[in-house]
C-alpha cells in the first residue's frame, strides 16, 4: 500500500497528541485551535475578502479558532502547501479538486465559495476583439491552475492550437499580470474579479466574462485532504463557519467589507467596489455544491484533455460539511 509522507507524520503527531492529551487539565477554557487558510492568490475579492473579514471581525475567534491567511501564487503552489501542511484548507478555483484529485493527490472539495463563474478576460489596449489575440500571449497564474484551464478552453473555442496559435504564460499574481500587460509581454490576462482593478489602473479593459464560455460552472471552492477531513473534521467545520460568517457580513455590509478588503489586498476602494458588485450575487450562502455543474466541469476537462480519466464524481467532493450553518 502506498504510504504518504503526510500519513507517516500524522501517525507521529497522533501518537504524541494521545500521549500528552490534557484531559486532566482543570477549567472549561478551550485554547484556540490554530488553522491556516490557504488562498490561491492574493488579488481576488471572492477568495480573500471573507477570510480577511473573518479575521478582522473576530468570526474565527468566536469559533475558537486562531486563523491565519496564507496566500500562494497559483493552484499548484496551494496544492503543495496543503499537502505539506503549510495550509489546512485551500480556497481556490473549482477545477483544482478535479484536476489534482485525478492526478492522485487525496484532496476533495468541501464547500462552494463562489457560484457560477466570476473569472474575466482582461485585454490590453491593442485588442479590440477576441480574434485579435491570435498569435499573442495570455497571462494566467500558473500552468495547471483554473485560469490556465480557462485559457485552454478559450483557445479551443476559438479553434486555436494552444501551443502554436496562442501562448499561455504563467505570469503569477495580479501585480505581475498588470506589469506584463503594460509592458506588452502579454496581450490579455485571465483572472478572477480583479479585472476591474486592472481597468481602474488603466492597464486594460474587461473584454468578456468567462461565464460566456461555460454554461454551468462553479467559480471557487474550499478543499482539504482526506486525512484532515477525517482527523480534523471539527476544526474544518468551524473554519467554514468563520468563512461563511464572513460571507454574510460581506453581503450585509458593503462599505465596511470593501474597506477591509481593499486595505488587506492593497486595492483602491473604487476598484474594490466594482469587484464587490461582481462578486456579491455569486457568493455562496451555505456552501452547497452544485453537482450538475461539477459534472459539466468534469466533462469539459476531459474534453480538453486536462483530465485523462473519469473518476467517479463523488471522489472529488464530500457533502458532510454543507450546508454550513452560521
Amino acid at each position: 500500500m502506498a504510504t504518504t509522507r503526510r500519513s507517516f507524520l500524522k501517525t507521529i503527531a497522533g501518537g504524541t497528541a494521545v500521549a500528552t492529551s490534557g484531559a486532566w487539565r482543570p477549567g472549561p477554557a478551550r485554547a484556540a485551535t490554530a488553522v491556516k487558510v490557504g488562498c490561491v492568490v492574493l488579488g481576488d475579492l471572492g477568495i480573500n475578502a471573507p477570510t480577511m473579514i473573518g479575521i478582522e471581525k473576530g468570526f474565527f475567534k468566536e469559533n475558537d479558532l486562531d486563523a491565519e491567511m496564507v496566500p500562494f501564487k497559483g493552484g499548484p503552489d496551494l496544492l503543495k502547501g496543503v499537502l505539506s501542511g503549510a495550509a489546512d484548507i485551500g480556497l481556490t478555483g473549482a477545477t483544482d479538486p478535479l484536476v489534482f484529485r485525478e492526478r492522485g493527490t487525496g484532496i476533495r472539495a468541501i464547500a462552494t465559495i463562489l457560484e457560477k463563474n466570476h473569472f474575466t478576460l482582461t485585454v490590453g489596449p491593442l485588442i479590440k476583439k477576441v480574434e485579435d489575440l491570435k498569435g499573442g500571449s495570455i497571462g494566467v497564474t500558473v500552468v495547471g491552475s483554473t485560469t490556465w484551464v480557462f485559457a485552454r478552453m478559450l483557445a479551443k473555442k476559438m479553434g486555436w492550437d494552444p501551443e502554436k496559435d496562442i501562448k499561455i504564460v504563467g505570469v503569477g499574481g495580479l501585480d505581475a499580470q498588470a506589469a506584463a500587460l503594460r509592458r506588452g509581454e502579454t496581450q490579455a490576462c485571465i483572472f478572477g474579479d480583479a479585472g476591474s482593478v486592472l481597468e481602474a489602473q488603466g492597464v486594460g479593459r474587461i473584454l468578456m466574462r468567462l461565464d460566456e464560455v461555460t454554461p454551468k460552472w462553479i467559480s471557487l471552492v474550499a478543499y482539504a485532504t482526506d486525512d484532515l477531513i477525517k482527523t480534523k473534521r471539527d476544526t474544518l467545520q468551524r473554519t467554514l463557519r468563520g468563512i461563511f460568517q464572513g460571507h454574510k457580513f460581506f453581503r450585509d455590509n458593503p462599505d465596511e467589507s470593501i474597506r477591509i478588503a481593499s486595505k488587506g489586498i492593497g486595492w483602491p476602494e473604487p476598484a474594490a467596489r466594482r469587484a464587490y458588485d461582481l462578486v456579491k450575487p455569486l457568493l455562496s450562502v451555505d456552501g452547497r455544491m452544485d453537482l450538475d455543474a461539477m459534472k459539466v466541469m468534469q466533462d469539459t476537462l476531459l474534453d480538453l484533455g486536462v483530465l485523462k480519466q473519469r473518476l467517479p464524481l463523488d471522489q472529488h467532493y464530500t457533502t458532510e460539511f454543507v450546508p454550513v450553518k452560521i
Binding site: 509522507r5 484536476v99 492522485g104 495547471g144 501551443e163 504564460v169
Partner: protein, 248 residues
C-alpha cells in the same frame, strides 16, 4: 579493471537502493527508476507536454548565444585588465567583490529588464559564464614568463607576433580551463533562467510538468537534461585535454 568493476557496482547499487526505497512510497512523489524508460516511451507516443523538440532546440540556441557572448566579453575584459597593469589594479578587486555575490540575485533584475523571453536567459548565461573566462585570462597572462616576452621583443618581434607565438601558447592551458568552466556556467545560467520564469525552452517544460504534478514526466526530463549537460561538459573536457597536450 578492478576499479571499473567497482564503479559499475556502485551505479547498480545506487539504482537498486533508489528502486527499493521508492517502491512502497506514493508514486506521485517518489518515482522509481524502473518506470522511467516506460514514461519516456509514453511521452514520445502521447504528447501530454508541450512539443519537446522545439523547446529543447530553443534552449540549445540560448546556450549557444550566451556562450558566444560570454567568451567575447570574458576575453575582452580579461585582456583589458591583464595587459594594462593600472587598469587591472583598479578594477580587479571590484570584479573579485562581484564574485562574492550569489549570481542568482541578478536574475530578477534581468527578468524585469529583458522580460520573460530568451533575452533574459541569454543575459543570465553571459553573467555567469564570463567570470571564469576573465579569471582564467588574468591567471594565464600572469603565467607567461616575462623573460620570454622580453627576449622576443628584443629580437624585434611585433606585438601581435609576440602575442601569438609567445603569450598564447603559455596561456593556453589555463585559458582553456576557464573556457570550459564558462561553458558549464552558461548552460547552468540558461537552465536556471528558464526554470525560474519563461515561456519556452526545456526549463519551461519542466515547470509545466511540475505544475501539473506529472512527476514521472518531470523525472524523465530532469534525467535527460542532466545527461545532456554532462555530455556537453565531457565534450568540453576532451577539448581541454587536447589543447593541454598541444600546449605542452
Amino acid at each position: 579493471m578492478k576499479i571499473l568493476a567497482w564503479r559499475l557496482g556502485i551505479l547498480v547499487a545506487i539504482l537498486a537502493v533508489w528502486e527499493a526505497v521508492a517502491a512502497p512510497l506514493n508514486p506521485l512523489f517518489y518515482v522509481r527508476p524502473s518506470v522511467l524508460p516506460g514514461a519516456l516511451l509514453g511521452m514520445w507516443r502521447v504528447p501530454d507536454l508541450p512539443p519537446l523538440g522545439e523547446h529543447v532546440w530553443l534552449t540549445l540556441q540560448e546556450i549557444a548565444g550566451a556562450y558566444v557572448l560570454a567568451v567575447a566579453a570574458g576575453l575582452w575584459l580579461g585582456f583589458l585588465l591583464g595587459l594594462r597593469r593600472t587598469v587591472g589594479r583598479i578594477y580587479e578587486p571590484l570584479l573579485a567583490a562581484l564574485y562574492a555575490v550569489p549570481s542568482v540575485v541578478w536574475y530578477p533584475s534581468l527578468m524585469l529588464f529583458f522580460g520573460l523571453g530568451s533575452a533574459s536567459k541569454i543575459a543570465f548565461g553571459v553573467a555567469l559564464g564570463f567570470f571564469p573566462i576573465v579569471l582564467s585570462v588574468l591567471a594565464g597572462i600572469r603565467q607567461v614568463p616575462a623573460t620570454l616576452v622580453t627576449v622576443a621583443q628584443s629580437m624585434g618581434a611585433r606585438p601581435f607576433t609576440v602575442f601569438r607565438k609567445v603569450m598564447l601558447p603559455a596561456m593556453a592551458s589555463t585559458m582553456v580551463g576557464g573556457l570550459r568552466a564558462g561553458l558549464a556556467l552558461s548552460v547552468v545560467g540558461v537552465l536556471v533562467g528558464e526554470i525560474l520564469g519563461s515561456r519556452a525552452g526545456i526549463g519551461y517544460v519542466i515547470n509545466y510538468a511540475y505544475g501539473l504534478m506529472m512527476t514521472r514526466e518531470y523525472a524523465v526530463l530532469a534525467v535527460i537534461a542532466a545527461a545532456a549537460v554532462l555530455a556537453i561538459d565531457t565534450a568540453g573536457a576532451l577539448v581541454e585535454a587536447r589543447v593541454k597536450r598541444w600546449a605542452g
